[in-house]
Chain length 207, copies 2
């Protein structure tokens, strides 16, 4: 399996190499990539090799086949249907974002407990009644759910998702979710992230 | 300076210990914290010690003073004015979120290039004309800006912020920003994060 730090860098290579394709270039070198992204060229070479892409000495990596290798690696080729739970401020921003479809994720529907939201649509996606979540996860074999409910509802909704067979949760709530070992959780704690940035800023000033 | 992995865990300790305060408990042990958060008690002890909090053998950490130590450490005591650039779907969700104020960040105003948005308010915060950004960053000595503009505008807005004296950028765009060494950037690449989760799910199935 590909190490996580490499996986996190691949979308940046992908975006840059797409720019090379638009500029009608056929090859791109590790040095060009490294300079553009402020990375070490040896790290770039290692990352690209991890995707199976092959570079030619003095010529570089073929733009089309490298884009293909990265797409394969990040699963951009297979579309995944995913659900969103909690169609509030953050949930609606995620529903309206075209970027997820571009990388193979089809945000099929949102679920909410607020009757005033149920029955509406955001960016063409329906907001359904929260009570239908469990049945639809099961029937549609949904693997990934995005959690954007208030912290107080987070664990309860998680338990419903896990019972219905969810395999991974992308968690935007500040709550640490208790899940069985076979369920993956990726926390996106935005408050922690801002605090860390601010603290690093404070540390950098002290020097 | 406190290591970043520790800083990222502190908000979870903070939230759990707040719950202890609401349950009128005076002390909390590392074991209780570790069990609640699925962490190793030795790691918890090391993290709390890094904040300056002192535990008493067999009794644990005093709830009030430990909350205070974590607040001090994460800078929750000093309010920091920050700007948001790009009042679109994501920007408006961030403006409407009360969580930032709770940890000492005052999202003062948003800036946008779309005349239809300028002059409106979201959650009581004004959306101002993008051309005023540079002057107001300078006059209000703003240190941190949140970037939520389209990828195509990201570098241009960043250059404006840097010239005006910004010290740190919280970047939600998928663009890698080129900034001078003394400016901090924290990337929040949500697309990469979802791709990584999906790839890890794929890896876990193969086993
Ligand atoms: N908005 C942000 O910028 C932001 C930033 C960081 C973290 N978060 C976190 O993301 C989550 C959502 O934040 P928000 O600002 O969108 O909040 P919000 O209150 O605007 O939206 C929450 C939505 O969840 C729905 N909901 C509540 N209980 C539910 C349940 N049991 N089942 C289904 N839906 C339910 C509500 O009806 C509401 O529509 C919160 O946990 C918050 O801490 C948000
Ligand atoms: N919405 C999401 O869930 C989401 C998820 C991941 C990443 N992102 C990233 O966050 C950014 C914002 O996404 P969004 O969905 O809110 O887009 P959006 O189009 O809804 O909002 C962008 C806003 O930026 C404004 N803008 C454009 N150029 C500007 C400039 N030069 N100065 C000031 N304002 C300017 C636009 O008028 C608009 O209001 C994008 O880079 C996107 O890739 C968004």
């Amino acid at each position: 399996a590909i190490p996580e730090p490499t996986l996190k860098r691949l979308p940046y290579y992908y975006k840059f190499i797409q720019g090379q394709r638009e500029a009608r270039r056929d090859f791109v070198s590790c040095t060009t990539l490294a300079e553009a992204l402020g990375l070490n060229p040896i790290q770039v070479r290692k990352d690209l090799q991890a995707t199976g892409a092959v570079g030619r000495p003095k010529v570089g990596y073929h733009v089309e086949t490298t884009l293909d290798a990265i797409e394969e690696c990040l699963g951009y080729h297979n579309t995944q249907d995913i659900f969103l739970v909690g169609a509030g401020h953050l949930g609606q921003a995620l529903l309206a974002y075209p970027g997820f479809a571009e990388i193979g994720f089809n945000l099929v529907a949102a679920f909410d407990a607020d009757p005033a939201k149920v029955g509406r649509e955001v960016a063409g996606k329906p907001i359904l009644e929260a009570s239908r979540l469990s049945d639809l996860v099961r029937r549609m074999h949904i693997q990934i759910a995005i959690l954007a409910v208030p912290a107080a509802a987070a664990q309860m909704v998680t338990d419903t998702l896990v019972r219905a067979g969810i395999r991974a949760i992308w968690n935007f709530t500040p709550t640490r979710l208790a899940v069985p070992r076979e369920v993956l959780v990726q926390d996106e704690n935005l408050l922690a992230s801002l605090s860390v940035l601010s603290k690093q800023l404070e540390n950098s000033r002290v020097k």
